[in-house]
């Protein structure tokens, strides 16, 4: 039972930030795509903006790892 709860906790720890990252990236990606259509020279900035929320899922991964280890 305890092992199961630990596994669920770890799954939530990475799953929820993964969804949050995906949601944030979908918004930023759509806006970035629009911006690039107007000004292609912004590609560097757009890559940076899209990549920023990824840190959330990495932090989630670390917490998940700490929970199961």
């Amino acid at each position: 039972m305890e092992k199961g709860l630990i596994a669920i906790a770890a799954a939530l720890a990475i799953g929820i930030p993964a969804l949050a990252t995906a949601w944030a990236q979908s918004k930023i990606g759509a806006a970035g795509g629009g911006a690039l259509a107007e000004r292609p020279e912004l590609s560097g900035t757009v890559i940076i903006l899209v990549a920023i929320p990824e840190t959330m899922v990495l932090l989630g991964f670390v917490v998940a790892y700490l929970i199961i280890s």
Partner: protein, 621 residues
């Protein structure tokens, strides 16, 4: 970079502009005319003759661009070198070629249109042709082609009954399936019943086969016959036109490209005149020259004009610092990495060119993620091929060069982690992990990547501090220094808390952290603490090196495991090969994006200052 002013008598202006164009080192600046004690200078007015010349050249450039766009470039060609004086003669020479190309292009368009029309009607042709050809001999009979959706098949029976009624049995109806959703009907009846039958068809909302415009005048039977004939003829006609167009392209493409460049150069030379200023007798052109190109420019002008034209070096004032164009120059091996700067605004004059750091860290991070001898070798070979294949396309060639360099650390790390197409090397007993197994040593890899993050982020802060110090921005340099101290002392305190450092250092560590944090806040304001927190997030972000790498190695293991499940060796190898190919593709994309992001977001944000102007010298195309 040096700011220069070129001054000479007005009658030397054209010659001087040509010399500047050939020298190809001066980034010409707008207007020396204006306030600040230069009231005696006015903008040089454009002569009427020059305006006429400019209009002529603009038209010629447009004409050439259109003509070139109509031709397919031959496999190999070399733009012919065309002098200014040859432009008008060559423009006359190409007039008949231009006419011929336009005619051929129009003809090709026509044939392609017809071909696509005929292909669209192919379904109907195939369905109706056998019936229609049988009915071909009937005189005084109308033949109508109809299509209905298959779901309305019942209409056929109704139509049959109604037409029988109208024509008193003197008709024939043929029904045939054209495709899975359409039924074709051919109806033939005596011409005297035409109006009644057509009225019936309109009422029933059945669509008659609509023929394209060029066939609309013909009766259905003749139209379909002609379409069949054209379908057979068209490919050969299209090939013939393409061959003729290809011949012209082979003979003229290089000349047209050369001429187009010469025209653009001539337009540029006239355009530069609008940047020049004048006094009563002299002209003045201002611009920027890299220090390395200055002596050459001076010598060239001395040889051409003696002492008639003067090149003066002007002092760069503090307020002009943001206007100084930036010329990025790196040794050959680093140059491909400049491609990463293309996505960012040019660095500000005097700030750091990060190319060398990218050239070191991008391949290292990329290699650490891919870390597979097999993948590294495949990527090395493919990128060597791409580098050769795209040697004329700078960006693609540079990206291929970056991959060539990056695949080497991937092979090296692959050796250290014992990976050859995942665990294939180990399965075959030829390779074993030298330092660690990426699947088993997750914790070690986490610590290693966080360590890399600490080093990389702190290096970024140090670069930022040193650069600002060298430029005399003492306050900003101090801010960066306290930023560095606060991050280091925080990490030290964490090290003490988790038992990696002696406990006795806790109090001094905490005191240094508090003092540096306060100093950072005083210097940078509210942004200081934010930057501090951001740096900690940045360091953790380097764990992606481990996370993405582990995902890649797991995919490779899965490929081998699924491949080994098959009893048939060939099938197993094919399945594993396909999965490895997919993973290989992801192994190029994902590590590139992650590694690039670590440079852009985590590293550059510590020192990179955008907002510079790119040095773009006035030179021939």
């Amino acid at each position: 970079m040096r700011k220069v002013q070129i001054i000479g008598p007005k009658n030397y202006l054209d010659e001087c502009v040509r010399a500047l164009h050939a020298a190809a080192v001066v980034h010409i600046e707008t207007g020396a005319a204006g306030p600040q004690g230069r009231e005696f200078l006015t903008r040089l007015p454009m002569e009427k003759e020059k305006l006429g010349e400019r209009a002529f050249l603009d038209k010629a450039a447009e004409r050439l661009r259109n003509l070139i766009s109509l031709l397919n470039p031959p496999e190999t060609y070399r733009p012919v070198r065309v002098g200014n004086e040859e432009i008008r003669k060559l423009l006359d020479d190409i007039a008949p070629v231009e006419e011929k190309v336009r005619v051929l292009h129009a003809r090709l368009d026509e044939l392609l249109d017809e071909s696509s029309t005929v292909n669209r009607y192919e379904r109907l042709l195939k369905g109706f042709a056998p019936i229609v050809s049988r009915l071909g001999g009937l005189k005084n009979f109308d033949i109508v082609g109809l299509t209905i959706e298959k779901t309305r098949e019942d209409v056929t029976r109704l139509l049959d009954a109604e037409v029988a009624n109208i024509t008193e049995g003197a008709y024939q109806i043929y029904v045939r399936e054209l495709d899975e959703s359409t039924i074709g009907i051919v109806l033939t009846y005596p011409r005297e019943f035409e109006s009644k039958v057509r009225y019936l068809l309109t009422g029933k909302a059945i669509s008659e086969v609509k023929l394209p415009d060029e066939y609309a005048e013909l009766p259905l039977i003749s139209a379909l016959k002609r379409m069949g004939r054209r379908k057979a003829e068209l490919p050969a006609l299209i090939r013939e036109v393409e061959r003729e167009s290809g011949d012209i392209s082979w003979r003229w493409y290089g000349t047209l490209q050369g001429l187009s460049r010469a025209v653009d150069d001539a337009i540029d030379e006239i355009g530069v005149l609008s940047y020049a200023s004048q006094s009563r007798f002299a002209f003045v052109i201002e611009g920027w020259v890299p220090v390395s190109g200055f002596e050459g420019l001076k010598e060239r002008f001395a040889a051409l004009f003696g002492e008639k034209v003067l090149i003066r070096v002007l002092d760069i004032e503090e307020r002009e610092m943001d206007l100084v164009p930036v010329c990025i120059k790196n040794p050959g091996i680093l140059r491909p990495f400049e491609v990463f700067l293309g996505a960012l605004p040019a660095p500000r004059y005097g700030s750091v060119d990060p190319t060398i750091y990218v050239a070191v860290f991008f391949p290292a991070f990329w290699g650490l993620i891919v870390a597979d001898i097999g993948y590294g070798l495949v990527i090395l070979l493919v990128s060597l091929y791409l580098k050769r294949r795209f040697r004329d396309k700078a960006t693609l060639r540079d990206l291929a060069s970056v991959l060539v360099i990056s695949s080497l650390p991937a092979i090296a790390f692959g050796f250290l982690f014992g990976e050859f197409f995942g665990d294939l090397g180990e399965r075959l007993g030829i390779l074993h992990p030298v330092i660690l197994d990426r699947i088993k040593a997750l914790k070690t890899l986490m610590v290693l990547t966080v360590g890399i993050g600490i080093g990389h982020v702190l290096l970024g802060i140090v670069i930022g501090a040193v650069n600002r110090m060298m430029r005399g921005h003492a306050r900003e340099a101090a801010g960066k220094a306290f930023y560095f101290i606060s991050v280091v002392s925080f990490l030290a305190v964490m090290g003490i808390v988790f038992g990696y450092l002696p406990k006795g250092l806790f109090t001094p560590g905490l005191a240094v952290l508090a003092a540096s944090f306060i100093a950072l806040t005083v210097i940078e304001g509210v942004l200081g603490p934010l930057e501090f927190i951001k740096a900690l997030g940045n360091i953790i972000s380097y764990m992606r090196l481990m996370a993405v790498g582990t995902a890649s190695v797991v995919m490779a293991l899965v490929a081998n495991r699924i491949g080994s499940l098959s009893d048939n060796l060939v099938v197993g190898v094919i399945v594993a090969g396909l999965l490895h190919a997919l993973n290989l593709l992801l192994s190029v994309l994902s590590p590139s994006i992650q590694s690039m992001r670590l440079q852009y977001v985590e590293f550059f944000s510590k020192f990179y200052e955008g907002g510079g102007r790119k040095y773009s010298p006035f030179r021939k195309r």
